[in-house]
């Protein structure tokens, strides 16, 4: 009976139809997955080594970091056609769109620089010196603060978006990968891949509120490497990709305790939710697939084959 109930829940149409767009780092393509049928419905070609992916606020454009083409591509998501390239600085890896829907903050991994690009004028408006191998990017919901994490310098750099200058640098554990503002921007979370932790900062004074550690039974701590993470509705729980441990952790965002570990594909990297956040799609680089997680049940329900080395993921509503 339980199985029937679960199956029924899966078949129930989500409130809003949508797609998950996945960048395939070593195929130079994007796989588009339907959040209803859980199948790849489209594959689009991109520039070389696509990684970061993000939609404009009205979903009329999709921005893609084509790292080895040294550009950010702007694609029409209806047709898959590249509309234009944006100057991005060398080797753009990750980026974030400012709430003004106009400024992209881009991490230039090879150059220790964060580049700020105006997507309308297609001009670089600032380049900010940061640590070695910048990667994780975040902007506070009020748009006042941008974050760059640098993998080899092991810091979160706090950028004042008014002046485009650093106003604080906070040390975290080794190889910080991803950053997110949560709880209306009062907290800022940073994952550290080699350190194996997530550090939670208070946005107001950049002090450390908590450090979250992970332990998966039967997996050596060295292989537990937190990378991407996303929050459920209301920011109550974080789902954290743990890289080569092949698990996603579920963290209670109030207590900072880990509640669950979910087995997914190999080298799980980034993730995106569907519209009502009932399903989570994780990119698994080594196994070349996407795992679909039933968020309420905290169980993997399907693997979807995509291209080689899926990296980034982003949701687009289609209704």
């Amino acid at each position: 009976m339980i199985r029937i109930a679960v199956t029924f829940a899966l078949m129930a149409p989500a409130a809003i139809a949508g797609e998950i767009w996945v960048t395939n780092e070593k195929d130079d393509t994007i796989s588009v997955i339907s959040t209803e049928t859980l199948e790849v419905i489209q594959t689009y070609e991109t520039g070389e080594r696509p990684r970061g992916i993000i939609f404009s606020r009205d979903y009329s454009r999709v921005y893609i970091c084509a790292s080895d083409s040294n550009t950010v591509q702007v694609m029409d998501p209806e047709t898959g056609k590249i509309l234009n390239d944006l100057p991005s600085g060398d080797d753009p890896e990750q980026f974030v769109l400012h709430p003004n829907d106009r400024h992209l903050y881009i991490a230039n991994e090879d150059d220790a620089i964060t580049t700020v690009v105006d997507t309308e004028t297609r001009k670089v408006i600032a380049q900010i010196d940061v640590g070695v191998e910048p990667e994780g990017m975040a902007v506070s919901p009020d748009g006042k603060i941008a974050i760059t994490t640098s993998e080899t310098t092991n810091m979160a750099h706090w950028i004042d978006t008014e002046t485009q200058k650093l106003f604080a640098n906070t040390l975290v554990d080794s190889r910080p990968r991803h950053a997110e503002f949560v709880k209306d921007g009062t907290e800022m979370w940073v994952s550290a891949e080699i350190g194996g932790t997530i550090t939670v900062f208070s946005t107001a004074d950049q002090t450390e509120l908590a450090k979250i550690e992970f332990a998966v039974q039967g997996v050596h701590p060295d292989r537990i490497q937190p990378v991407g993470f996303e929050f459920t509705a209301g920011d109550t729980h974080a789902f954290v990709a743990l890289g080569p441990s092949n698990h996603v952790a579920v963290v209670n965002a109030e207590t900072y305790e880990v509640e669950d570990y979910i087995l997914v594909g190999r080298r799980v990297w980034h993730m995106a939710f569907n519209a009502d956040r009932s399903l989570l799609f994780t990119t698994n680089g080594v196994s070349g697939d996407v795992t679909v997680i039933d968020v309420a049940a905290r169980k993997a329900i399907k693997s979807i084959k995509v291209g080689r080395f899926p990296w980034g993921a982003a949701f687009r509503p289609t209704d």
Binding site: D91, E109, D110, A112, D129, G131, V132, E133, S150, E151, T152, T153, N154, M155, H157, K165, L166, F167, A168, N169, L171, D173, S174, R175, E193, I194, G195, G196, H220, D222, R223, P244
Partner: protein, 392 residues
């Protein structure tokens, strides 16, 4: 080669501080890079010259990484270098450098390294060995003031042995060169084969003095014919003299491993996973060539000091050495696992690549080779195996 003089490389450090001073006071660290020329025996082929700046180029990249990080923390680094030519006095150069800084990165033979470590001036110094692989330096002949970022021969042969076990290539033969480095490698290999339960069914010494470039096709099949059947042929040819002429010329059609063919190395240009592509491209942009294992060892030495300064904000030897050997220390070394130091012999614990010149084949420790503390300690001299006592 008259380079005993100290070449000072003052890297500009007046980086505009965009950072509030905060808790961090200014800390600066001077690191010396000492290269003592080692006579290189002639080899049959000159196809692969060793870069002049092998090792030092890695230190330069590590310095850049440290400086970029340091500018946010009011921490500065300076790299000074000295090169000692053949026939010149390495100890005088070492003394001169030790007068400037207690932190030395040393590219030298095991004998020269030990002589420097035993100088009275070095008793409170911290030296990093970036080239000598002799297991003895990590065992009976260890020194408390020497850390090893270079992988030991034993780590490399253990890594290769794990691959042999995994592939069930357990019936092995070996050709050993006559140079000391070849002998040392062969010794480490015999130990690894015993450790992992593999059989060495035959062993021959490379005795040819003919020019193999002309007649390898005739000589090598005959030379390898009496090995009979085996699973893989191991070459102990660390000076890279004859090994390249053995591949594809053996009597039996079997893979060649060891110093040529499938090799265990601490670093190789073919490593691109675990973010390594970034380090490779950063290195190549700065130095105009690919990064080798010695460059990696020197990079790791600089980054070890940088990481210790970042986390402790100290510059004295006692604090940095203590932190580096503690459990808190971890270095992100682009090998997929945090690197740390063995507190029984000062060896940098690291995964070892098993690769051929075109691709990575495996990275040891391989899955299934378990260890009660850290799987990386299945490579090289584990605590009970090392006779080093000065670290305890």
């Amino acid at each position: 080669m008259i380079l005993t003089n100290l070449v000072r490389q003052l890297i500009a450090m007046a980086v505009a501080m965009l950072v509030p001073a905060g808790l961090w006071a200014e800390t600066s660290l001077t690191i010396g890079y000492l290269k003592i020329a080692q006579p290189r025996p002639p080899t049959l082929s000159n196809l692969d010259p060793v870069p002049e700046d092998s090792g030092f180029a890695g230190a330069r990249t590590g310095l850049q990484d440290n400086l970029t990080t340091g500018k946010f923390l009011d921490q500065t680094y300076e790299l000074i270098t000295a090169a000692v030519g053949e026939g010149e006095d390495p100890l005088a150069a070492a003394r001169e450098m030790l007068a400037a800084t207690p932190y030395l990165v040393i590219d030298a033979s095991a004998a020269d390294l030990l002589n420097i470590a035993d100088l009275p001036e070095a008793s409170t110094a911290l030296l990093f060995n970036v080239s000598a692989g002799a297991p003895d330096l990590r065992s009976g002949n260890c020194r408390a003031n020497v850390l090893h970022t270079a992988a030991s021969d034993a780590m490399r042969t253990d890594a290769l042995a794990q691959v042999l076990v995994q592939k069930r290539w357990d019936d092995l033969v070996m050709i050993v060169g006559t140079h000391a480095a070849d002998q040392s490698y062969a010794e480490a290999m015999r130990r690894s084969l015993t450790k992992f339960g593999l059989r060495l069914e035959g062993e021959k010494t490379w005795v040819f003095d003919a020019d193999m470039r002309r007649n390898a096709a005739q000589e090598v099949p005959l030379f390898t014919q009496d090995f009979g059947d085996y699973d893989a042929l191991i070459l102990a040819d660390e000076v890279h003299d004859f090994g390249r002429y053995v591949l594809y010329n053996t009597w039996a059609a079997r893979p060649v491993v060891g110093s040529e063919g499938l090799s265990a190395v601490a670093w190789s240009p073919v490593i691109e996973q675990w973010g390594a592509a970034q380090l490779q491209s950063r290195f190549t942009a700065q130095n105009g060539r690919e990064m080798n294992a010695q460059d990696y060892a020197a990079w790791a030495a600089l980054r070890t000091l940088g990481e210790a300064v970042t986390r402790t904000n100290a510059s004295d030897v006692a604090t940095l050495r203590g932190y580096i050997l503690s459990e808190e220390f971890e270095l992100a070394g682009f090998k997929g696992r945090p690197l740390s130091y063995r507190d029984w012999n000062g060896q940098l614990r690291q995964p070892i690549a098993v690769a051929h010149p075109r691709a990575l084949v495996a990275q040891a420790p391989l899955e299934g080779f378990l260890h009660q503390v850290n799987e990386m300690d299945s490579l090289g001299l584990d605590r009970p195996e090392s006779m080093c006592e000065v670290f305890e």
